[in-house]
Assembly symmetry: C2
Homo-oligomer: 109 residues x 2
DNA sequence: TGACTTTATCGGTAAATGCCGATAAAGCGC
DNA sequence: GCGCTTTATCGGCATTTACCGATAAAGTCA
């Protein structure tokens, strides 16, 4: 659902970007992303250990991150292995860089 | 309410970061930020011209961005002049950089 | 097959969000 | 003071979000 296709209309990519930012714009999900970045990959149960929230809640947060394209999932046995999508973070990074560059050009500091 | 004090507990700054990301994680607000980055500064009325939304809606979006510390406001006559806070964007940038760096270290690409 | 582990999904609820029109507030110029 | 312009705030509404417990689904292994 996210990032499958290489081509996006500007406006669509704009919405995609907002979706990604929104996904990591929640304390729990931001922490999940950090935890994932610190390990190679992790499963839902492991993530649950980092929080006092219920398993279903964590699973749903992971699902939001997946739908936004921030993480990818791979089934391994009974577990689901989640890992960061670097391309997603880099897309956000270039978006931010562009904003900062634009702001630097025309906004007196 | 945002960024006034230099010292923040790690967890607090974590929440702040999420708040900023959430603020720009909305298509309208992301576009507002882009518009502001392209100009030096702008007022609410000018922003309204970029959208088909009502004035009160745009005003509220600007307020969200202000509360999150993404933009600053300066009253000028009857108008409010909004402009990007580069320090905020840069804070997000370094957050993202840190994440990408962590992911690069331990996540096989 | 059946017990077990792990994750996803369902149903429900309280709170937050996004939007609007109407109105208030603040600052001009006459 | 009185209009005028611009912005902020209020009340209300529909939708979304975040959370939970319960349950279903998928996989492993004896």
């Amino acid at each position: 659902m996210a990032f499958e296709h290489g081509f996006l209309k500007p406006e669509t990519s704009h919405i995609r970007t907002a979706e990604m930012l929104k996904a990591i714009g929640h304390p729990v999900r931001l922490k999940i992303v950090r935890e994932l970045a610190e390990r190679n990959a992790s499963c839902c149960g492991e993530m649950c250990d980092c929080f006092t929230l219920s398993q279903s809640t964590i699973s749903q947060h992971l699902s939001v991150l997946k739908d936004a394209g921030i993480v990818s999932v791979k089934r391994q046995g009974t577990k689901s292995s989640f890992s960061i999508r670097q391309d997603a973070l880099q897309a956000l990074q270039s978006e931010l860089n562009a904003l900062i560059e634009m702001a630097r050009c025309c906004c007196d500091d």
